[in-house]
Symmetry: C2
Subunit: 418 residues, 2 copies
């Protein structure tokens, strides 16, 4: 019945993957070509039902845990091995795209369909997981399902989250019928792979098809406040001004300079600025702004934070102005596991796709999973690096390539010698 | 009846001047020690009535023009000479102080009281003028009375100005009974002096009592827009960003650098900044900000504007980002007349006050008067350089000194050899 094929020659069915993506994207489709399918909404239920139906049609069994994470399982030949898991999420931003999350789940399903079509049984079982509420658009915290699974916060905390209408995540999960019996985290994972659009411009810019993801950047978020003295722009000579904006812009320039001193993964961004009183002919008395520093290792990120603090202290001394720095958030860098990263790297090499290392700057369920299991990610380009936007787009050939890499990486991980 | 005194030994009565200031400040007094007496309000009428009453009590005649400017006249001995005029305004900002404007009018009245007390008659007539609506808080344009007087705009334009309640300046002027018969500008001025608090920190900073004002700074106002590409702070490497804020802060630093290259009167200020989308983890796609450049001469201000344009062009080429510069306002520098500036300088020297040249960075009625007559100004310090604020404050001794300088300058200008 099946064509005899070496597993190394096995390829997924690109048009079938694309069709699945388009069928799922129809649920919550927006006029501009995007998708609005908020976590734990009726549309989320419909989408979960559709994906579970596809899994059952492939002979997979389904386990749901108490936070609504769905594990769709294809058995292997060795029942003593933990499953090799892949997946992502199918909730979207309010003005989200077709590929963010959905691609990770449906690439996993396509791997299963391919193995079924060729009658190939792996040693370890394979699972495709749908994590609950990755986006956090409707209920905070983000990456809720994987966060509870990995113990980042409690099930009770997640249940208590409310949307703007006052509805709780716990009630809504129950309402859509996706509270399962399994205790979150009480589910072994041998290895975890997640395919995702890059959500950045690096691959497209380098004309590469596959991103091997060695790590997710850590970040520190600050609020910085510079306090000078508000005075009139005309009568006040330059030498005796206490211009809060002039000092603040110096710091903003330094934020970028610091990031550039720690390449290739240093990032420094000022995204938010508030000038007071914000009047054309008044020298600003106070400026508040955000600082976002990122890098790939604890050591580098710490060094960037140290550099920033040293610059601010020198600026305080030099200018005499008040400079306050308040840390508002910190996430440590997350290196992915070498065995998973290497499995992806080997698969790419064997398949001959153009590839490069790309760190992830955004959050993904894989970050939480990495706390409890070896994990890795596979990126494919997205058009203009745009995501979280209805115009989010990706090339069918790139999506197919990413799923082939996933297939080969999972085959390796599910083999006897992983 | 009068003590025989040489005019060079003549001094004004400091406590009497202070009392007049306090009496006028009672009209519209605010709990925080300031004054709220908007142009053409009932309080403005009461204040005008009070000042006119004081003038009549000193034997002065009163002429009012069609825009409500009040000329209070003390005759001289030579009816062929045009009057030497001093004055300012008695309307205030909504949260204004006691001294802005009021000091200029009441220092003039104090000069008249001093001459009367000593029975001294000048050759030229002397006049104290109250200009209508200098502040522009309720009705725009600012410096309305002197502006119409000097032909900067028409009487009809001024009358048509409306406040936020929809009332017109023309109707309100009529309502308070201060539409006079004289055609604005149809009134000779031999020389004009205006005493004023500095509204800046220069005198206080230098511990000087008197500011000789050679000129008012000219200014150019711009709106600048930098357009980059909005993208996520995490996934986008530094090298391929189009960070509109990073480019904008460079320009903001340069605005200050340009001003510092043209001392001592160069001024460069960015007062207003708008960042889009103004989100912590998004690289700004667009930044709009104001630029305010000032200097004392046309040549210097033009050079500053040229420097700015050259920097922007170089920045366009270097960064590839869109940079738009739109001029929104321009006032040419206003040098005061040498005979008036020298009259002030000579008076200061004879009186022995500490003094320095201070350019005016703010607008005053004297700027418009300088278009039609020799004009000059006398500055005294104000506390912390603060004005347009209820906490505006000035030292009685400084106010007295400024009025003595005014007295001596007017005596010189009203003498036969000016």
């Amino acid at each position: 019945m099946h064509t005899a094929v070496s597993t190394s020659d096995l390829r997924i069915d690109g048009p079938r993957l694309w069709q699945a993506l388009m069928d799922l994207a129809a649920l919550g489709a927006t006029p501009k070509g995007g998708v609005c399918r908020l976590a734990l909404s009726d549309l989320d239920r419909t989408a979960r039902d559709l994906v579970c139906g596809w899994a059952r049609a492939e002979g997979m069994s389904i386990t749901i845990d108490q936070i609504g994470n769905i594990f769709m399982r294809r058995e292997g030949s060795d029942p003593t091995l933990p499953p090799v898991v892949t997946g992502s999420h199918i909730d979207t931003q309010p003005t989200g795209g077709k590929f963010d999350g959905n691609y990770g789940v449906l690439a996993g399903l396509e791997v299963i369909r391919t193995l079924n079509a060729h009658g190939i049984t792996t040693a370890a079982p394979l699972e495709v997981v749908v994590w609950t509420n990755e986006e956090g658009s409707r209920f905070v915290p983000v990456m809720m399902g994987s966060g509870v699974f990995c113990g980042a916060f409690t099930l009770a905390h997640a249940y208590a989250a409310t949307d703007t209408a006052g509805k709780s995540a716990g009630d809504e999960l129950k309402r859509i019928g996706y509270v399962g019996p399994q205790t979150p985290g009480d589910h072994p994972i041998g290895a975890y792979f997640e395919t995702h659009i890059e959500q950045g411009p690096v691959l497209e810019n380098a004309d590469c098809v596959i991103g091997v993801v060695p790590a997710v950047l850590g970040l520190t978020w600050y609020d910085c406040t510079v306090t000078g003295f508000e005075s009139h722009a005309g009568p006040t000579p330059m030498a005796i001004r206490k211009d809060a904006l002039q000092v603040a812009t110096g710091i903003m320039q330094e934020v970028v300079a610091i990031a550039e001193r720690y390449p290739p993964y240093g990032r420094g961004t000022v995204g938010m600025v508030q000038v007071m009183p914000n009047s054309r002919n008044v020298i600003p008395g106070q400026v508040k702004f955000s600082i976002d520093l990122r890098n790939v290792s604890d050591a580098l990120l710490t060094q960037m934070n140290t550099d920033l603090e040293a610059y601010l202290e020198a600026t305080r001394v030099r200018t005499g102005l008040g400079i306050m720095l308040e840390q508002v958030s910190h996430y440590a860098p997350c290196p992915f596991h070498p065995v998973c990263v290497d499995a992806v790297r080997d698969a790419v090499a064997a398949l001959g796709y153009s590839a490069m290392d790309v760190v992830s700057g955004a959050g993904h369920d894989a970050i939480y999973v990495a706390r409890v299991a070896p994990a890795g990610m596979i990126f494919v380009p997205c058009k203009d690096g745009v995501s979280h936007n209805e115009i989010e787009d990706a090339d069918p050939g790139h999506l197919e390539a990413g799923a082939n890499v996933l297939l080969q990486a999972m085959l390796k991980a599910a083999g006897p010698n992983f």
